[in-house]
């Protein structure tokens, strides 16, 4: 019997698990995929929004602003990359100035610090590649960019270090109310728990609706993105948004924390909760609309495109709290944008609800920090040579585009909740994330993974399940 089972190992689930791991409780995270960060958390804009977008008084507004404030400290504690690069909302028509002003005022009410409206000249001085049609911009210096994989992995690793169990490839099929709480029927057997945190992303409605008569509905809203080469990474320094208008939030252009340029997303409602397939129309729209606010975009330098699904709940706000007619079932649903920014605050809120309901006591041995994978590229020459002297694998470059060493890949596999697939290694180290998109390094990475996990090459997958890379040996079918 667990005290709490968290369903879903995305950023919300991992943040909730990590916050809960401060307390004396038996906690387990159940994840249907083979790794953390496999759903919405892995495919989004990787933005820590400032917090001026959401309606005042909404959970989105409150948790976004709080999460943004917490992120700096959290990034230091958990050793992940986060940069407050600031954001600009571009206004290109005089008649929209009132809308920009409204956004500014909303930000003030939400408690966003240091917001400013910039003139056309100020904007262009700050960000010369913004469209010449700009007439004003809302500048939010507290906005930032982050590596969502690292954020998610760091939260999960730290939760694990603090005693949280993780079960992967475990899918909840049925939830039964029991005397003490809930029984979760999964493909890996029955799990019993007093409390459930429903952080199942686009599936959160299905789980909620298993226990509650007050039905919710989550509509996956797909966003298509294009990622550009690092050579284009300094095209803008800040995150550039369109003024939210009749076309929604619009296509943003942002540097990533690793120095690429990201453009997107579209907003297309889809039925399929696994429908992360990009569409021609979607990608065309990204290419076309990205140029509205940023000029001279080098779209020739796209290295990959992808899509993510926003877990959009019909009411439009985050849905966090105990289900009215299902005691002990804590929803953490409808976590769409600004979910990445909000996740530290979401975790805190969920943990506080459960702490108060269960009367949990704080541990005295909570470990609040975590060291990430060592990045040799950040070391001085002397430090790097000292490292290679001790561990020669750090002298061997495997991914030539991102300059990732074998040492980093080994670390990614061996560390707590280590990588089991090529995508797992990619999310942890960036091997395969560069301009050749794993063309050169995948055979090497497969070899290292097979050796480290003592597995056959035929069991190596791209991302778990049936995503094997090789299917046999030469001539075996002849």
């Amino acid at each position: 019997m667990y005290d709490v089972i968290v369903i879903g190992a995305g950023v919300s689930g991992a943040a909730a698990a990590r916050e809960l791991s401060r307390y004396k409780a038996r906690i387990c995270v159940i994840e249907k995929e083979e790794d953390v960060c496999c759903g919405t958390s892995k495919a989004n804009s990787a933005i820590v929004h400032a917090g001026y977008d959401a309606a005042p008084g909404s959970l989105k507004a409150k948790l976004n602003v709080r999460g943004n404030q917490m992120m700096g400290e959290l990034a230091k504690d958990l050793d992940f990359l986060f940069k407050r690069n600031g954001s600009l909302v571009i206004c290109t028509a005089e008649e929209d100035l009132s809308a920009l002003q409204e956004l500014y005022e909303r930000g003030q009410i939400n408690g966003v610090k240091d917001l400013r409206i910039l003139s056309r000249e100020e904007t262009l001085t700050m960000e010369p590649n913004v469209t010449d049609c700009v007439c004003a911009a809302l500048y939010a210096p507290t906005a930032g960019i982050i590596c969502p994989f690292e954020l998610n992995i760091a939260l999960a690793e730290n939760a694990y270090t603090n005693g949280v169990e993780f079960r992967f490839d475990t899918e909840v099929e049925k939830i039964v109310k029991s005397e003490e709480g809930y029984e979760l029927h999964t493909n890996k057997g029955i799990f019993r728990t007093k409390y459930v945190v429903n952080a199942a992303g686009v599936y959160a409605d299905e789980l909620h609706n298993m226990v509650s008569e007050k039905k919710i509905r989550i509509m996956p809203r797909r966003g298509d993105y294009c990622l550009l080469d690092k050579a284009a990474g300094s095209h803008v320094e800040r995150t550039v948004f369109a003024l939210p208008g009749k076309f929604g939030k619009g296509i943003l252009v942002t540097p990533t924390v690793h120095g690429n340029l990201l453009v997107g997303p579209t907003a297309i409602d889809v039925e399929d909760k696994e429908g992360i397939n990009t569409s021609r129309e979607g990608l065309e729209q990204v290419m076309e609309k990205a140029g509205l606010n940023v000029k001279n975009l080098p779209m020739r330098q796209v290295i990959t495109s992808f899509a993510g699904l926003r877990a959009h709940e019909e009411q439009g706000d985050f849905l966090i709290g105990e289900a009215e007619d299902a005691k002990g079932f804590i929803d953490c649903a409808g976590i769409e944008s600004p979910g990445i920014a909000s996740c530290p605050a979401i975790g805190e809120m969920v943990a506080q609800i459960i702490r108060d309901r269960m009367g949990l006591e704080e541990k005295d041995n909570f470990i609040s920090t975590r060291k990430g994978i060592r990045r040799p590229a950040d070391l001085s020459k002397e430090e790097r040579n000292e490292l290679i002297g001790k561990e020669p694998a750090y002298g061997s470059i495997v991914c030539r585009c991102e300059m990732i060493t074998e040492g980093e890949i080994i670390d990614a596999v061996r560390r707590p909740l280590g990588a089991k697939s090529l995508d797992g290694i990619k999310r942890r180290t960036r091997a395969g994330m560069g301009r050749c998109q794993s063309g050169f390094c995948s055979p090497r990475v497969m070899e290292i993974l097979a050796r480290e996990r003592d597995m056959s090459m035929f069991d190596i997958t791209k991302s778990g399940g049936k995503s094997q890379i090789v299917v046999g040996i030469n001539k075996d079918a002849l």
Binding site: T278, P392, I473
Partner: protein, 422 residues
Amino acid sequence: MKQYDIVIIGGGPAGLAAAVSAKKNGIDRILILERDKELGGILNQCIHNGFGLHTFQEELTGPEYADRFIEQVKELDIAYKLNTMVMDISREKVVTAMNREDGLFDVQAKAVILAMGCRERARGALNIPGFRPAGIYSAGTAQRLVNMEGYMPGREVVILGSGDIGLIMARRMTLEGAKVKVVAELMPYSGGLKRNIVQCLDDYGIPLKLSHTVIDIKGKERVEGITLAEVDKGGKPVPGTEEFYSCDTLLLSVGLIPENEISEKIGVEMNRATSGPKVNESLETNIKGVFACGNVLHVHDLVDFVSEEAAAAGKNAASYVKKEHPEERNGREIRLNPENGVRYTVPVTINTARMDDELTVRFRVDGVYKNCYVSAYFDGERVLHRRRQVVAPGEMEEMKLTREQLLQYPDLETITVKVEEE
């Protein structure tokens, strides 16, 4: 810091030939830096034959061809380091590299030869929509898995792009027991050599669909199928022409990109048409003493020409080190201008004082032209005029210029190379 006369970045066909040539031209302190575990580069995975017809008048496999040069490198006692990645290079030609044994180390070079080769364009560059499952490989990655590691990446294969590696892999996958269903090519012509279309597709009954592209990829975990559609002249899919192919593998052979990240670090000026450095008659970049050859300079079809070009680069780098061409011998700088059907030329400038008696100008055309002429105009005057039955983007062209010929035009400023109807 160790000093070398010439540091060669890359130990593939270009680097090897450059090293051998530099040594034969009197340079002793040469170092080849190779990132892979053996010399030979991509030739090691090209186990088919057809290499060496020009160089050795023999038909060799890729590894055999590489071996001829590797043997020379060893006989000539040229130093090389394997598993060694070049991390950085400075304007002063300090090359920073790294491996397991030496860690991060610097070497000082008098001249540098860039011979890093190229990489394959990935799916992202084409923005092919659909899922992102396992089973999508660049043709070269599949070639490595099959030819060097012995693993089958899939059983039922569709290939997008008719570049040479894609064509070669269509045959290889068939020989290893896979079913290659179709090769689709976006352009109305193949990007590969004619002989490869005959020997790799026609001989095995594999259909080639020109003016077709992949418009969707199905399969969430592993590829389950792809949809092809015909494209119009603008490259847009034509509605109603969609055709679904069930398959577990999609191979991409959609172009090669010279790998010039290191070159760009030292400010080497690039040619947009080739994605390689702009070079003069000596295959020297805008940075004195930095030379380029092989696929890092422009993508070749035949390794024989890579070797030839690299030998020239090696010889020229040797001359540079020996200061055989003092700057005061300033000859005339003639500009080469690609026009009307010619996409680029290598080199882009010629200095008559530095050039050899004969110079090979290599170039590619931008489309298929039949019964045409390839001409060179010396300023206004048509000097070279050669009839060609057919020229195509998949086959590199060349033109020989002699020093004597250029000296007959003392005021010559520009040589324009173009395709003409008559």
